[in-house]
């Protein structure tokens, strides 16, 4: 059978188109073949490359940020050191890196020292104390003393907080003002006096105010919980290091 020239041409054209289509679309399924799939992937790769370049170009910005973060951390650390130096209990007043049984005993001494400090501070200005703040006794339970009296781990670092309630003093207006303002200068602790009310007939006045106090505890370690109670005998969970703020750098 003889084919006409048109038929031969059409057959050649069809075969050419199939080959071109295979080249364009990659019919054979192998990765990396096919002009158009490759182009599409190249476009995506270029976009990816651009993103990578954008990220890489942020290096100077990232370095600046690191520098700023470093400076901020150092500044905050220095500021905190000032607070630690003047407004936290001095080293030795309380150490949480002792077994909790020992801590129940030590905490009593700490409480007495705090009471002495409060008693000294509440007389500032020359007032007569009618009803002074009372520092509550610490827990006798070795299993709960750290949590109850030093708020650890609830607050993330050991800190003692006292809400003393109402304090009543008598004196002149100047004495009362000096007394209330004086709490800001209380050494070794952070105290805040609030809600000052003054009654009476001048010059002898009676003042009441609310008092709260905070003591950030210095130290590097907290002793692990003691195996006391019904569940005792098991391995005590680790106490571990004290997180940053309570650790009081340099403390």
């Amino acid at each position: 059978m003889k084919l006409s020239s048109l038929t031969i041409f059409l057959i050649g054209l069809s075969i050419s188109l199939i080959i071109l289509a295979a080249g364009l679309f990659g019919f054979f399924g192998a990765e990396g073949t096919g002009f158009l799939p490759n182009r599409a992937e190249i476009a995506m790769q270029k976009e990816y490359i651009q993103q990578l370049k954008d990220e890489a170009n942020k290096m100077p910005q990232a370095l600046r940020r690191v520098e700023k973060a470093k400076a901020l951390v150092e500044e905050v650390g220095a500021n905190w050191q000032q607070v630690v130096a003047t407004n936290t209990p001095p080293p030795g007043m309380i150490d949480l890196d002792v077994p909790a049984w020992q801590l129940t005993k030590d905490a009593r001494g700490f409480r007495n020292n705090v009471q002495r400090a409060v008693n000294a501070q509440v007389k500032v200005g020359g007032v007569t104390v009618i009803s002074g703040p009372f520092v509550p006794f610490t827990s006798e339970s070795a299993t709960s003393i750290v949590a109850n009296d030093f708020n650890y781990p609830a607050l993330g670092f050991p800190v003692a907080i006292w809400d003393f309630g109402t304090v009543t003093v008598r004196g002149t207006f100047e004495q009362i003002s000096a007394n209330v303002s004086g709490w800001k200068d209380m050494p070794n602790f952070l105290a805040v006096a609030d809600g000052l009310q003054i009654t009476g007939t001048s010059p002898m006045l009676t003042a009441t105010y609310n008092l709260s106090m905070v003591a950030f505890i210095r130290g590097n370690q907290i002793f692990p919980p003691v195996p006391e109670g019904a569940g005792g005998g098991g391995t005590a969970p680790g106490g571990g290091g004290m997180p940053g703020p309570g650790r009081a750098p340099g403390g």
């Binding site: 031969i8 041409f9 050419s16 080959i19 071109l20 364009l24 990396g32 073949t33 002009f35 490759n38 182009r39 992937e41 190249i42 995506m44 790769q45 270029k46 990816y48 490359i49 990578l52 370049k53 954008d54 990220e55 890489a56 942020k58 910005q61 990232a62 370095l63 940020r65 690191v66 700023k68 901020l72 951390v73 905050v76 500021n79 905190w80 607070v83 407004n87 607050l155 907080i161 207006f173 009362i176 209330v180 303002s181 800001k184 952070l190 105290a191 805040v192 006096a193 009310q197 003054i198 007939t201 002898m204 009676t206 609310n210 709260s212 905070v214 950030f216 997180p243 940053g244 703020p245």
Partner: protein, 296 residues
């Protein structure tokens, strides 16, 4: 009728041969074109992938550097001091120390504007929002005029935006209506008996009034008691009043240590990661790794 317009030397066999050769050339050209397209595109793709691989460490370094800053701020190892927490504690310490003198300072400002005729017996304040204080005073005044003057005096306190008052008992003399006994309308105090208009009756009324009135030290308001700390109240014909002044620009809200030290739920914004390569289009919404590196 069909017309044969071909030249006579052109035969149909010649046409078929030409078509065959043309077709073969066309197929060969297609093969060459397909192969070339594949080779060039594959090479371009390989080049692009290599470039991406080369850039990856640089981008990763930038991301790691950014994360290092986050780690320093967040206090994660090896930077064990969480700066934001530390900063919060410092702010609490500063707020506590700054707060204690606020009440005495506020009262000092208020006292400077208390007129001498207003004898204070009680002074207290409470926060009114974040920036204002409501100062409440109790004291003694004598006349209705002082009651009015006191309000004006209190409004001169810097930042005072409002004053309220209560408690004054008006005892000023007033002119009564005429009645049978009093045809003149002699002024009297509230609750006082009428003064007759005839001279003899008026004399008798004055005598009776004097005999019924206070003849000695009355001892009201804790006066006469030898206790310096006892608050002296209102004297006869004086009133104990209560006034409140709303003073703007006097923030006396107390810092709450327990609430302030409570750990904040949730963390800061995460640093991102490296852009992910993909055979698909980039994921919408994907945050570039160092996208959070804006200067703070």
């Amino acid at each position: 009728m069909k017309l044969n317009l071909l030249p006579t030397h052109v035969s149909k066999q010649g046409q078929a041969k030409t078509a065959l050769i043309f077709s073969i050339v066309m197929v060969l050209a297609s093969i060459v074109a397909a192969v070339l397209m594949n080779i060039t595109s594959s090479k371009d793709l390989a080049d692009a992938k290599k470039m991406a691989e080369d850039l990856k460490p640089q981008a990763q370094a930038a991301v790691d550097t950014a994360k290092l800053a986050d780690a320093m701020l967040a206090g994660t190892a090896p930077f064990t001091v969480p700066a934001p927490t530390l900063q919060r504690n410092i702010q609490l310490a500063q707020a506590m120390q700054a707060h204690s003198p606020k009440y005495p300072e506020l009262y000092g400002v208020v006292m400077d504007h208390i007129p001498s005729f207003f004898r204070l017996t009680s002074l207290q304040a409470q926060p009114a929002g974040d920036t204002a204080a409501l100062v409440t005073m109790t004291g003694v005044i004598d006349t209705f005029q002082e009651y009015a003057d006191l309000m004006l005096a209190l409004l001169r306190i810097p930042g005072a935006t409002g004053v309220t008052r209560t408690g004054f008992n008006v005892t000023d003399m007033f002119v009564p209506e005429l009645i049978t006994e009093d045809q003149v309308g002699t002024p009297i105090r509230p609750g006082q008996a009428r003064v007759p208009s005839t001279p003899i009756d008026r004399l008798n009324a004055v005598i009776a009034n004097a005999e019924a009135g206070t003849t000695g030290f009355s001892g009201v308001g804790n006066f006469g008691i030898d206790d310096p700390f006892l608050t002296k109240g209102a004297m006869p014909n004086s009133s104990e009043i209560t006034v409140s002044v709303l003073i703007d620009g006097q923030p006396i809200k107390t810092p709450d240590p327990r609430a302030s030290l409570r750990p904040v739920a949730g963390g800061g914004g995460g640093g991102g990661g490296m852009p992910a390569p993909g055979n698909t289009a980039p994921t919408p919404g994907r945050t570039p790794g160092t996208g959070s590196q804006e200067d703070e």
